[in-house]
Amino acid sequence: MRLRTFIIIAIFVTSSTDFLEAKGGSAYSRFGIGERFHLASVRSIGMGGASIALRGANHFNVANPASWSDFPVVQFSGSMYYQNIRSDDGVQSGGIGSGNINGAMLGLPILPSRGVTIALGFMPMSNLGYNIETRTDIPGGHQATKYIGNGGITNLAAGSSLQLHRTISIGAMALYRVGLLNYEWSNQFSIPGYGSAFTIRELDLRGVAGQFGVMYSGLLSPRRDGEYGPVTIGVTFTTPTRLNVEEEYKIVYGTGVDTTTVRTGTIELPYSVGVGISLRADQRNIFALDARYEPWDNYRRFGSADAHLRNATRIGFGWERLGRYDEIGAGFIERTTFRLGFLYNASYFNIHNQPINETFLTFGVGIPLSGVAVLDIGSQIGIRGTTENNLQRDTVFRLFFSLSLFERWFIPPIIE
């Protein structure tokens, strides 16, 4: 009952906010489809993003749908984030803070004995967000030039998992990718008689993709009956996506609006493939390592490649020390899970022929709440880019929160 109440509240909150548009960000998000998000779970955020081979009945891992076969009960997970990006181009610096809902998933284990879980939800795929203003003095006054980008792509997801064998699980997820990318440019003058004007380019994108995953835990024998082997290998593959795009280019001047051109076309997103391995060293310590690859050389926008993009590779490594959830009398620290990780992302941005890479240290905690809920907090602190070659270096701080709720549904009535 508590879970259902929370779901209703969550639906109300998300429907009353523009959660499909992420906010804030860096000028690097101007390129491609914006800054790529790879959010598997807030648990994995704290572990350097490693998630492909990460099992766990208490965490909704959307990186690999095969992991849902572990769910014994209905699980709901919702998350939000806050980020602060401080950008420095070697001459000046400035910062933007932003936050938003970060996704929600509902998992329904309809046949737990066979690992069949149906999952529904949404999560962000990319974020376009920058807000730049420069001011120039001119005879008679000044001129302010603004460059604003906002929007992003969200995945609406529905999928299922299946346990083929005690050591092998598979999963698949259909993704409906929908988004808006808005780019605004404007010149405003303080001089009477000079008309300010701006242009808006809006792209409305829609497309479908499929994500598939497999997990294999049979490399080593389990230590106890009923457990998985200590080593899990995971592989995921997301199909290329053809987004149908309607682009509207408007010029706005004075009080009038003119839509000058409308065109339709496609944006081709490349496939994504990932491999991961996790090791449960003992009852409380888990290590995980991920690698992902996306060939953004295959990206096409209205049929044209983008020289500002390149193939991307992402490697994450993390460690998790599980709290003693079930130990009676254990204190708060003992019951809390701690996480630490490292992330290196050779991002898909290639600006001024300079690859843009980012490195992060990650931290996280998992706090059990009353036995039917877990609060996960994850953070990333890192650096992206460089001030060489007229570029900018971003110092990024992100804080993620997620709440996972568990409840048993579909309890058959007792027949006397």
Partner: protein, 382 residues
């Protein structure tokens, strides 16, 4: 608790103010560069257009060496021209009073004025000079008087009683009375304009009727009116920019701005003209009210009104009487480079029905290049 914590962090930490970092990494296509270009006029000419004068605020009559103008009017229903009491009574006297509000020519000169009975029907809908040419009126006037040019006292005509009786009979037969033409003759050298209806001092038809020894008076003020004006000096419209009220004439001005790329943002477009005194006929009581319109049809000289731009004047050289007219035509030029077609401007006087003044401008072939029409555009390339 989680939602509250999130909202707190979001509201405290989020910052939507812009920053100045990042312009350096944006692609070249995002940059807005501002350019200024000055274009000289490619072509200009003037043309006559029979403007609609029905409902004008002023009725004109008279002649000068440059203009001739006549007016037509009638007293209309629903105000009963001749109430039953008048219709069935003896008419003792009928006078028409007109109040002058405009004059052209030497003051203190006299202007003979005549009223002629109209004998063909006419409509006030879209009445212009061409319609006036089709109207029949009696060559012999029914009333005449002499007005003093510049005098503000009323000009009074004594109308024949038979005319009023004839109008009363027509009204009884449900015939719309055609009215009167007001004009002068060829000996005139001035023009007077009389106030139209509405407000004080409009045209008044006063009828004294009744029984001898106990007369009554009825005053009728509502009327339909229009005027027709003609140019007599025939200036060279094809090779001059002449904006004439009353007649009237308008001008077309064309610029070739193909150097401005399609889709450019127009921040400012200023159209400059310089007054040419050669054909100008000023009228001090009517201020400058000249507008630039977007020409939308070359053959029919159709124009758009919504984005018209008014000219402002400034004296560049008081000794040589050089007056500059400038108008911000940014919306028109923006339409040219966005979705519209550049057919040029129509220059017209917004007070076309208020007088007979004329403004002339130097053309693109004028000897002094500094006085030729020009269009200065400040724009951004995207």
């Amino acid at each position: 608790m989680l939602a509250l914590t999130g909202m707190m962090i979001y509201s405290i930490g989020c910052d939507e103010d812009p920053i100045s970092v990042g312009e350096g990494i944006l692609p070249d296509e995002d940059f807005i560069t501002i350019d200024t270009l000055v274009f000289m006029a490619k072509e200009s000419f003037s043309y006559e257009i029979p403007i609609v004068t029905s409902g004008s605020q002023t009725m004109f009559a008279g002649e000068t060496d440059k203009h001739r103008v006549e007016s037509i009017f009638r007293f209309i229903s629903p105000v009963t021209l001749t109430p039953d009491t008048v219709r069935n009574s003896e008419i003792f006297e009928a006078t028409l009073s007109l109040t002058p509000v405009y004059s052209m020519g030497d003051s203190s000169e006299t202007l003979p004025l005549y009223l002629h009975e109209v004998i063909s029907g006419w409509s006030t809908t879209d009445f212009n000079r061409d319609v006036f040419e089709t109207i029949y009126w009696r060559s012999k006037s029914v009333a005449d008087t002499v007005a003093m040019v510049g005098d503000t006292n009323q000009t009074v005509f004594r109308l024949p009683r038979e005319l009023i009786a004839h109008w009363a009979q027509q009204e009884e037969e449900s015939i719309v009375t055609p009215g009167l033409v007001l004009r002068s003759d060829e000996s005139a050298n001035s023009i007077i304009g009389f106030r139209g209806p509405g407000g004080e001092n409009g045209p008044e038809l006063r009828i004294i009727y009744g029984v001898s020894g106990s007369p009554d008076t009825v005053t009728i003020t509502q009327n339909a009116r229009a005027f027709a004006a003609y140019m007599k000096d025939e200036p060279d419209l094809q090779n001059n920019i002449i904006i004439q009220a009353g007649v009237s004439t308008r001008a077309v001005l064309k610029f070739d701005i193909h150097e401005i790329p399609k889709g450019a943002l127009i921040h400012s477009a200023e159209l400059e003209l310089f007054k040419n005194p050669e054909f100008t006929i000023s009228h001090p009581e009517i201020g400058d009210s000249i507008f630039a319109h977007q020409l939308t049809d070359n053959n029919k000289f159709l124009m758009r009104t919504a984005n018209r731009a008014r000219f402002n004047t400034s004296v560049i050289d008081s000794i040589n009487n050089i007056i500059r007219y400038s108008s911000l035509v940014s919306e028109i030029v923006q339409d040219w480079v966005t979705v519209g077609e550049n057919l040029g401007f129509i220059i017209r006087d917004n007070s076309e029905t208020l007088g007979l003044h004329r403004t002339s401008f130097y053309t693109e072939t004028g000897t002094d290049e500094a006085l030729r029409p020009r269009l200065k555009i400040i724009y951004s390339r995207i």
